[in-house]
Subunit: 468 residues, 2 copies
């Protein structure tokens, strides 16, 4: 964790944003989450807001910041002598409070009574235990303390949520150093993955080697690894397949560092080591779109506009191939790009890979004067805001040929006059391509986080696979 | 999963054990569990009872078996067209019901109303979502539907719980084949770990490589890996240390196969590759105890008696070294062994590494005529039952020198006259040793599960480390 001063300053900034409010702010840390039975738990992951404001990476903690008098209290449970015999010596709640720069330490058992009669400000929670505990501490229902969709959580404190978002959206120098580190780890993991992409290999073997690296060098993967020869299917859960010749392997994966900062990269590989002409044509468009987005990123630019510019570039490339016909700008504004890229260009990244997603996607990713589109593609954009230095965002254009979606558009008449549905039939077994880097917005533009960029042009990719 | 007949037969056996009862049996599958935000979840793990009786490894399912008319219904949610576009085609609830040999398929949204007015029999649940859902479906509180300690869950159906335990305690031929496979994977993972134990190595690197192997070849590790140079501390969560010379490295780890059967092995390595004389003396006692336990395991023998016999053997060895004085049998019955081995000799293993622990440790591990001891060590024994063919148990004696515990005994006068507390001071920095194999009870004795036994004698271990 950082020095206690950093956490104290963050809480001070939050307190200052809450001026005029009365009551307390409650921060609930996470507990261990059972995988099978109660004592066989997943690897502990602290709540990200708790990490940001207190830095303590231990289950079973809570903290209260009093808005009326500024008092701050850490709640937890000290080990008894039997715990020490079985678990060895661990820090006391008092020692943890010191590490976080918190004045008061108290027994967790006192938390509920200390909150009695106070107005409790909170940010929405995610885990199932947190829902029960937050509901019990606030008198609300477990469904009321979570984000119900993109708009966030009605019962949560809007002021507190907006203040947290404002703070966490802008990464400090210390945070950027850790994010660079997480990205270097993510790139190393991707190199390892690339070496595993050989015809006949079992996907699970590649995924296991990647996740093993993430566990050896960091907390683990920052989200369940996507490694699939069906890139057109966005949520893949099985890795039972063997690598087939002539396919495109999409690998979308990241490492969460031991300090819990995320990285998130995507590369797409020709499974036999060489792109076909058809694959290379589509790949080149995606690669151009990735580089084009990077060239547009700078303070003051809305990432929504970068998405739209990329959509136009993508449609222009697809028009050159004869898959769509018409003016690229007109097609972009008609939302034609959503047929090929139904997702957004990117998202915020930080302590969460989709940073703060459960605080409410619209609050996190949209400026107050920006409305979310209902178009397929643009409507899925998680980060639309005008960029400021310190923002960390992903740049991840993709082109997919999703037969069920293409058929739906054809049947419904969507895109008629622009989309060459007959030509698209030739692409029904193509799969998909996505290429993703992680960007830091700097005072005068952008920088790709991490070390040397992973090979990305078709030639670079083929050369790298040739050496592997 | 197995063929549908196997699951049908298991449910038939359970139905037959429930004869005379009215109402329904409810089985709640697991859902995805958030690690950070709602859509960033840990790797899905199905509820073990649900796996045993239905075999379906998919989140969001439930099943009801009607005791009044034998009707069986699987509840789940079919994908809509948007789900198919994003997730690709997945099996329908009807198809999953067929795979499990279940007659009826229904929408999950119907479950609560279908249960209205029926007596609901259930086994205690573990995960936090399951607590909320089971509480909501039964009208009980979330604290009432879980095991509250070793005795189990009062509100659960005792008859159903005992019937499940009786079935799951005896592994079938198909299950044994899968457990052998899980054990082979566990042994391979241990070999990999052994190769990593070099002075100067970072523990996290070894753990990452192990867990990567478990993910490549199976579901993952069957419990959080214990890899520690402080074997005397039983619950270790940090792997930040580097390997120091002259220490004993305890590695207690297992693989859960893709079919969700567990393995669980422990070996202890001298970090420099060679045991000191002092280490070798203690190690030899533990090794002898492991082999001795194996020699005693056969149908009809209570594992409680094996634990006691091993305790006697251990004390006899410690007496030879002058660390305790007195008649080994008398010391064993006085519970002196608990100072050195505060845990039990072993536990049941199957779909859970501590099989069925949350159904109630005493119900799972003790025959109705066996009372749990209050002695340190024997009182921690998870498996005391008279053995029957098909039981799978661990054999894991250990000797630890826990300064806080030794001081407690000395101060309280426990073990006075038997324990040489002065001599024990020389062992305060010793650490601990544990050696664990997985045993199948056969009709005429026992068999160690897995492939070739991991090196276990001091010479075998040194030779293996020399080659690595």
């Amino acid at each position: 964790m950082f020095s206690s001063e950093i956490y104290s300053q963050r809480r001070l900034a939050l307190l200052s944003a809450m001026q005029g409010e009365s009551g307390v702010m409650l921060f609930l840390g996470n507990v261990d989450s059972p995988a099978q039975y109660r004592d066989n738990c997943y690897k502990f992951r602290q709540d990200s807001n708790f990490l940001y404001f207190f830095g303590l990476d231990t289950p079973g903690l809570a903290a209260v910041v009093d808005l009326d008098n500024g008092t701050q209290t850490l709640y937890g449970t000290d080990d008894d002598i039997d715990d020490i015999i079985w678990n060895g010596p661990t820090p006391t709640v008092r020692e943890m409070a010191d590490a976080a720069g918190v004045d008061n330490a108290a027994a967790y058992s006192r938390l509920a009574s200390d909150l009695k009669g106070r107005k409790v400000h909170f940010a929405p929670v995610s885990g199932y235990w947190n829902r029960m505990e937050m509901a019990s501490l606030t008198g609300l229902g477990p469904q009321e303390v979570i984000s119900s969709g993109k708009a966030g959580c009605k019962a949560a404190s809007g002021k507190m949520v907006r203040a947290i978002i404002a703070l966490r959206l802008v990464k400090s120098g210390e945070e950027i150093a850790l994010m660079d580190k997480a990205c270097v780890l993510g790139q190393e993991m991707h190199k390892m993955a690339r070496c595993g992409v050989k015809v006949g290999a079992v996907e699970q073997d590649i995924v296991g080697a990647m996740e093993g690296y993430a566990l050896a060098k960091g907390w683990g993967v920052s989200f369940p690894t996507i490694l699939t020869q069906h890139g057109e299917i966005f949520h893949c859960h099985s890795h039972a397949n063997t690598v087939q010749p002539g396919k495109l392997m999409v690998i979308d994966a990241g490492v969460e560092s031991n300090e819990h900062y995320a990285s998130d990269f995507t590369r797409t590989y020709p499974t036999g080591g060489k792109f076909t002409q058809k694959q290379r044509e589509i790949y080149q468009i995606v690669c151009d779109c990735n580089n084009y987005a990077f060239s547009l990123v700078r303070p003051g630019v809305a990432y929504r506009d970068v998405h739209i510019a990329v959509a136009e570039r993508m449609l222009s490339g697809l028009a050159d191939l004869g898959l769509v016909h018409g003016d690229a700008a007109e097609m972009a504004s008609e939302g034609i790009c959503g047929l090929f890229m139904p997702h957004g260009l990117g998202h915020n990244m930080g302590l969460d890979v989709h940073d703060m997603e459960d605080l409410g996607e619209n609050l996190v990713g949209y400026d107050p004067d920006q409305a979310r589109s209902s178009q397929l593609g643009l409507g899925s954009l998680r980060m639309a805001r005008r960029l400021v230095p310190g923002n960390v965002i992903t740049d991840e254009p993709g082109i997919y040929f999703i037969p069920a979606l293409i058929e739906k558009w054809r049947n419904e008449g969507t895109g008629r006059g622009f989309v060459d549905f007959d030509r698209l039939r030739e692409y029904y077994d193509f799969g998909g391509i996505r290429l993703e880097d992680d960007l830091l917005v700097t005072p005068d533009g952008a920088r790709r986080l991490g070390g040397e960029r992973l090979p990305i042009t078709p030639d670079e990719v083929e050369d790298a696979m040739d050496v592997d």
